[in-house]
Structure formats: C-alpha cells, structure tokens
Amino acid sequence: MGKRVLLKGNEAAAEAALIAGCTHYFAYPITPQNEISAYMAKRMPKLNRTFLQAESEIAACNMVYGAAATGVRAMTSSSSPGIALKQEAFSYIAGAEVPAVVINMMRGGPGLGNIAGSQGDYNMCVRGGSNGDFHNLVYAPSTVQELADLTLKAFDVAEKYRILALILGDGYLAQMSEPCVLPEPSGERHEKPWALTGAEGRDAQVIKSLRLADGVLEVHNRHLEEKYKAVEAAEVMFENFMCDDADFILVAYGTASRVCKAAVMRLREKGVKAGVFRPITLWPYPYEALSAAAAGKKKVLTVEMSLGQMLLDVQLAVRGEVPVDFLGRPGGGVPMVDEVEERVLSYGR
C-alpha cells in the first residue's frame, strides 16, 4: 500500500486521473476546481501528455470528445455553470458512445451563484441536462480518498461501457485536504475497435450521433437502453452506515453524507438508533438497496445541500412505505450536524 499523504481534493482527483492513464486533459478555468487544471498544466507536459486550456467549457468538452474518439483516455473538469455549457457535448458523447470522464465540483446556483460547495446540480447531472434519451454514469465521492479512487475507476468504467462517467463532487470536497493513499493503476483496458485511427487495413468508420433514416435512431436508442440496463445491473454503489438496526435512516451523498454520519454518531450516543444510507452512484441510483434499508423503519430523512433534488429518487425507492422527510440548505449552505440531530430528535423515539 502506498503512503498516506495530505492531499487537496482537486489535486487527488488530478493525480488519480494521471494514474488511470489519462493522456489528454482539456478545461476552462472556473472556481472551485482550478487546482485540477493547475496540477494538469504542471504535470502533463512532464509526462509527455496533453494539457490544453480551451477557449470555453464548450470547446473543452468537444476536445475531449474528439480525443477520446481516437481511443485515448481524455478528461475535462469544471464547476456548475461550466458543466451547464458542457451539456451539449455530453449528449453527443452519449449518442456517439465515446468514453469520457468529467469532474464537476459543484458550486451554488442558479446562474453565477457563488463559489461555495453545493449540490444544486443533481437534476442537471443525474437526470439529464441535455437533449435526448441518455444517461451519464454519476459517482458521488464523499472523501478525498474516495474521490481519488472513483476518478481512477471512472476511466475504466467509461471505457467498458463507452459511456460518460461524471464525478459529482462539491466545492468543499474540491478544496478539502485529507490524508489519502493514492490508488494503484488498475491495469484495466478495453479493446477499442471503434476508435478513429485512420482506415488503414480496415473499412473506414464513423463516430456520429445523427441517425436520420426511418427507425434507425430508435434501434440505436434501444441499443443504448440495453447498455444502460447492463450498467444498472452491475455498477450500483452505495454505503450502508449503521442502517441495519436503525429506526431512522438518513439519506445523503457527498459532503452532506458526512454531516449525517456525524449526526448519527451523536444520536447513537443519546440512544437514538439512526443510520446513513449513502448512494455512491447517483445514476444508476441504488433504489433496491435503499428500499431494503428503509423497509420497516420509522422515518427516512433526506439531507441535501440543495432543495430536494435527490428527494424524488428517495421517494421512488421508498415508495410511500415509510414517511420521507427532507432537510436541505441551498446556495452554498451546508446542513449542520446540530440541525440534522435536532430534526431526528424531533421524531421522538
């Protein structure tokens, strides 16, 4: 095992991408993820890889699309308003089935909002945000260690399914430093017979999303649907933190889930049995696992740094069998441990 080092989230993510074999990184500056670009700008040339500051978020993500279409591992990173601009390319990447990795360190919104950590992009990133029937695979790390591990994994999984894998962090995770053991390279590689490398010794091939002929797009959509079903079957990740004997289940992801864990530990000291269910993949969402974890409990409390965006998925999972409450802080606010604890105490025994 590697050495424990104190790393800032942004730097850990960047280094993990390098370990994963990311050879091409394109981005446009935006707070609070600028350390990723700075890290890449410093390291990529030394490794004989490509760092390019693009003219816009739009261009950066299209550069990723172009580079990844030739078979290399490519990545871009940004924060909320920048991710909104990248959504155009997200849809093309999905339609054309190009593997790509994108990091979103969310900040407060709407609009320019602020630069504090937030979870206001759940709807944009998990439910869609761009045109057409498609999904991105969305990972929601909650610690610097997990951010590094999932960034590495994102490259493998993106390649395996020819899908866009999105790391959905927030400004706190981006800026936070924690001890981290950098992951080892997985060594996982997938054949890319589809890659554009020139029609030498084979037929010419095309990467595209336009499918005009009668019924052809529907066939393609069905093919994507099959792929998404395979992802749903194999890639769901979640953490069950003291849920088994709990009366109350707190559901939260990313930074908000850490607050919930702290609240649960305090509640347990007071004899209140609470637990945290933490989705690690937001798409595919761990509906079944959450449904099982919540079964027979007294109450489910969804906690977000937004105004109830994940709440709908929690309600879908729980299907009305247990009452679902909500506690959220928007605009860069973070629900505090005291607030969460008080809310659970208000449910009584």
Binding site: R4, L6, T31, P32, N114, I115, G171, Y172, Q175, M176, S177, E178, P179, T255, R258, V259, C260, K261, A262, V264, M265, V334, M336, V337, D338
Partner: protein, 179 residues
C-alpha cells in the same frame, strides 16, 4: 479526541499554511485530519481562514459552525470569530496585532505576542509558527512538537526550506520552550 480548530487572519499571515502544517503533523502522528480553506472570492478581500479537524477516530463532518479552538491573527478575525468558539473552548489571540479585548467569559483566552516572538527568533514573518507553537503547548493532544517540526519538511516549498530552522525556533519560543 476530536478537535475542531479555526485559523484566521489576513492574507500573507500564513493561516492556511499553519492549518496544513498542523494537519500533516497530526496525520504523521497517526491521527485523522481534514483541512478546508476559505477560497476564491473570500480571499480577494484579504482575509483568509481554514477549518481543521483532528481526531483519533472517524472525521464525519469536515464543516462546522463552531470550533473548540480559534486561532486569530488579526483584529477583524477576532471580531468575526470570537462567537464561533464553543463554551469552554480556547481562543488564541495574536496580541502583537490585536488591541481589542475579547468579550467572552465562558472560554479560555490565550494571548501571544506572535509577531514579537517571530522577530526575536530572527524572522519578520513567522508569526503563524509562533501561534502553532503555542497551540500545541496548550493543546498537546493535537500532535507532538517533533511532528510539528518535521511537518515543515513536507509543507514548506523547496524555495523556502532554508527558513525552516528559524521556523522551528519560532515554534519553540511560541510554545515557551527556550531556544
């Protein structure tokens, strides 16, 4: 132990760095740590702060509205964060620069002439090291003095490593250790 600490001051006083040094030291002593700096727009105003958590168990939440210890290095920081110290907590004040008296009576007030100590040890800008030295003197559970000195090796850039002997001297003086 579980300790939530705030470092605050103006840009250039090295409060973010002080937090980082403490984190590295505590990490190398086997503790769990987290460090969140103020960043971006907040920095443009010239004030800076960071939240540090040190624990021998799991650090669940890295964000907190209240702190066990606040280390304040200038007057605006005192005015802003005095209320953020938990009752029974500690407030470390850089009395070289802060001439305002704190009003809280339910916390322990610890004054230290950080800039003067730094000057005495031969540096114009190591007041943050004096504060760190004092911090671990009054809160020895956080990390060992040696770990703090050793952390400089990792935390300080190559360019500034030549100042480390002075930094260590300031830390010791700040902690009341004769050098």
């Amino acid at each position: 132990m579980y300790s939530e600490i705030l470092f605050a001051g103006f840009g250039g006083q090295g409060v973010i760095l002080a937090g980082k040094i403490l984190c590295i030291a505590a990490m190398n002593d086997g503790k769990n740590v987290s460090h969140i700096p103020s960043y971006g727009a907040e920095m443009r105003g010239g004030t800076a702060n960071c939240s540090v958590v040190i624990s021998d168990g799991l650090i669940a939440s890295p964000v907190t509205p209240m702190y066990d210890i606040a280390v304040v290095m200038n007057t605006p920081s005192l005015l802003k964060f005095e209320k953020s110290v938990r009752p029974g907590g500690k407030l470390l004040i850089n009395s070289s620069l802060i001439d305002v008296e704190p009003t809280r009576t339910d916390i322990e007030i610890i004054k230290i002439d950080a800039n003067d100590i730094s000057e005495k040890a031969g540096s114009h800008k190591a007041a943050n090291m004096a504060m760190l030295g004092k911090l671990i003197a009054v809160e020895p559970e956080l990390c060992s003095p040696q770990a703090l000195y050793d952390a400089l090796d990792t935390a300080i850039s190559e360019r500034n490593k030549k100042f480390n002997p002075v930094n260590i001297a300031v830390m010791k003086l700040g902690g009341g250790i004769d050098v």
